[in-house]
């Protein structure tokens, strides 16, 4: 019988953090990380930004954890697709025909770009991996006109990158405003204005009827021609493997507040997982965020090693478009009232307070130097379930930091 082994499926941020955390939490047996990509864990946030615009030919930027695999005796298997899990026998099967036995298994399978269900959708490029970014870089580098479907974070960040490279952009959004799922209206409006200022042309309420290699045709018959068509309409969790193994999955692989799935030997974390965040709700929630992937990865690793810790993560997200930084912490949707704190002439922070006076979310938009500190303090206040005085939150002459001492 082989030594009991920990297996991680998925070698993104979450998988890499989990592997390191497992070892640091005292697991001494084998740790194997299987990834479909040919790279080890690397940072995805730059894919829509610096990797497209910087002059140097880009390389994947390895995550901090990837550099420690050798030292920690973590085995990373690239180009490896896990095709099956046998929960009864505690075994996984690889596309190569190999099998491997696990003591505990972590699914960190991530998410994939959502595709449109219209004719010609295969002509639209998507962005998820380093290779996707590489392909876009070559098309963007040639300047020209990019037609982007979807006014979410990926679409807007790509628009900003294309403009930076001297290209033209037309952005098609089927809602009546940008970022309608994720961002409070006032901040989305400010971002919209910035894009308009920079020359992006918008079509709202645009329903795509089909895609051609160099054009998008709308339901109303309008034809928008460009040099490249890009689709950024969100991501879908990779749950196929989990479903096949009989694990509970809805919008993501369902886990408890310790990131354990419906099978006690199998955990899930990151973009693929819908987990319970007990400080906010007893309903599983799924986030697509670099920070959550990292923090959940580390928590899953510790719990697989026996820690039995509940998650107490405050979601935190950022997007950068031109010089504007958008940051969101907590869950603005849970707010019943909003308190506005101006940070400068061109930066604003909004606090979201629930019916009981608790600070449950915050969002800010502006230069990084104006928004970063106060957003970090907001995040800490949210974690503490603070009920700050709204008058202090709104008063720019009062340092927010004083609320942390309370």
């Amino acid at each position: 019988m082989a030594r009991p082994a920990m297996i991680i499926v998925g070698s993104g941020e979450a998988g890499g953090c989990a592997a390191v955390a497992l070892r640091e939490a005292g697991w001494e047996g084998p740790i194997t990380l299987y990834g479909e990509e040919r790279h080890g864990p690397y940072e995805r946030p730059p894919l829509s930004k610096e990797l497209l615009t910087e002059k140097e030919p880009p390389k994947p930027r390895p995550s901090a954890e990837a550099g420690r695999f050798d030292e920690l005796g973590i085995s990373h298997r690239p180009n490896s697709r896990v095709i099956d899990i046998d929960p009864a026998g505690k075994e996984i099967s690889l596309h190569s025909g190999q099998t491997a036995h696990y003591e505990k298994l972590l699914l960190a399978t991530g998410a994939r770009a959502r595709l449109m269900s219209v004719p010609g959708s295969e002509y639209a490029l998507t962005l998820r991996s380093f290779e996707d970014a590489w392909a876009l870089r070559h098309l963007f580098g040639a300047g020209g006109h990019a037609v982007i479907i979807g006014g979410g974070f990926i679409g807007l960040e790509l628009a900003a990158s294309a403009i930076k490279l001297g290209g033209r952009v037309t952005l098609l959004e089927n809602q009546e405003r940008l970022l309608s799922r994720a961002v409070p209206a006032e901040l989305a409006q400010r971002l919209h204005e910035e894009h308009v200022c920079r020359g992006v042309r918008f079509h709202f309420g645009a329903s795509v009827s089909r895609v051609e290699r160099r054009a998008v045709i709308l339901e109303n018959g309008e034809r928008i021609a460009g040099d490249v068509v890009i689709c950024g309409i969100g991501a879908e969790p990779e749950t196929a493997l989990a479903r096949k193994a009989g694990l509970r999955a809805q919008n993501g692989i369902v886990t408890d507040d310790r990131l354990c799935t419906s099978n006690p030997a199998i955990y899930a974390c990151g973009d693929c997982a819908a987990s319970v965040h007990p400080q906010f709700s007893d309903q599983p929630m799924r986030f697509e965020s670099w920070q959550i992937a990292r923090e959940q990865g580390a928590l899953a690793g510790r719990n697989m090693a026996g820690a039995n810790e509940r998650q107490s993560i405050v979601p935190w997200f950022w997007s950068q478009q031109y010089d504007l930084h958008l940051q969101i912490a907590g869950l603005p949707d849970l707010g019943k009232s909003t308190v506005v704190r101006p940070l400068s002439d061109d930066a604003v922070l909004q606090f979201y307070i629930d019916g009981g006076g608790r600070l449950v979310g915050a969002a800010a938009l502006g230069q990084l130097s104006d928004v970063a500190r106060d957003m970090r303090i907001a995040q800490m206040l949210i974690a503490r379930k603070a009920t700050p005085d709204p008058a202090v939150l709104a008063a720019t002459e009062r340092r927010l930091k004083t609320l942390l001492a309370a």
């Binding site: 550099g67 990084l368 970063a372």
Partner: protein, 105 residues
């Protein structure tokens, strides 16, 4: 003063438990003041993505990078865990007549 020391700022330019940026000779530095009025100096850019640390939050003797919350102990420059893994360079400081001097280079 001996060679290599630079007059960086008045000590009251930095609030307690806070940081400001300072540039000299094309190089960015970050200057810190603790709650108990000790002063420190490190390189001004985060070792992760070259972001200005002076926009970050100081908590006790930790500076957090404003972009990805990478943490450093500014008294010795030590990286305090991912995503940062490379330590910050630190510089000697001295207070004279209400001004903060740093030993650059």
């Amino acid at each position: 003063m001996e060679e290599g020391w630079i007059d960086a700022c008045a000590i009251d330019d930095i609030e307690e438990e806070d940081v400001i940026g300072f540039e000299h000779g094309g190089h960015a530095y970050a200057l810190y003041r603790t709650l108990d009025d000790r002063f420190f100096c490190t390189d001004g850019l985060c070792t992760h993505e070259q972001v200005h640390l002076c926009d970050g939050l100081v908590m006790d003797t930790i500076i957090e990078c404003p972009k990805h919350n990478g943490r450093f102990d500014f008294t010795n420059g030590k990286a305090k865990g991912a995503p940062v893994c490379v330590d910050l360079k630190t510089y000697e400081t001295e207070v004279r007549d209400g001004r903060l001097f740093i030993k650059a280079g």
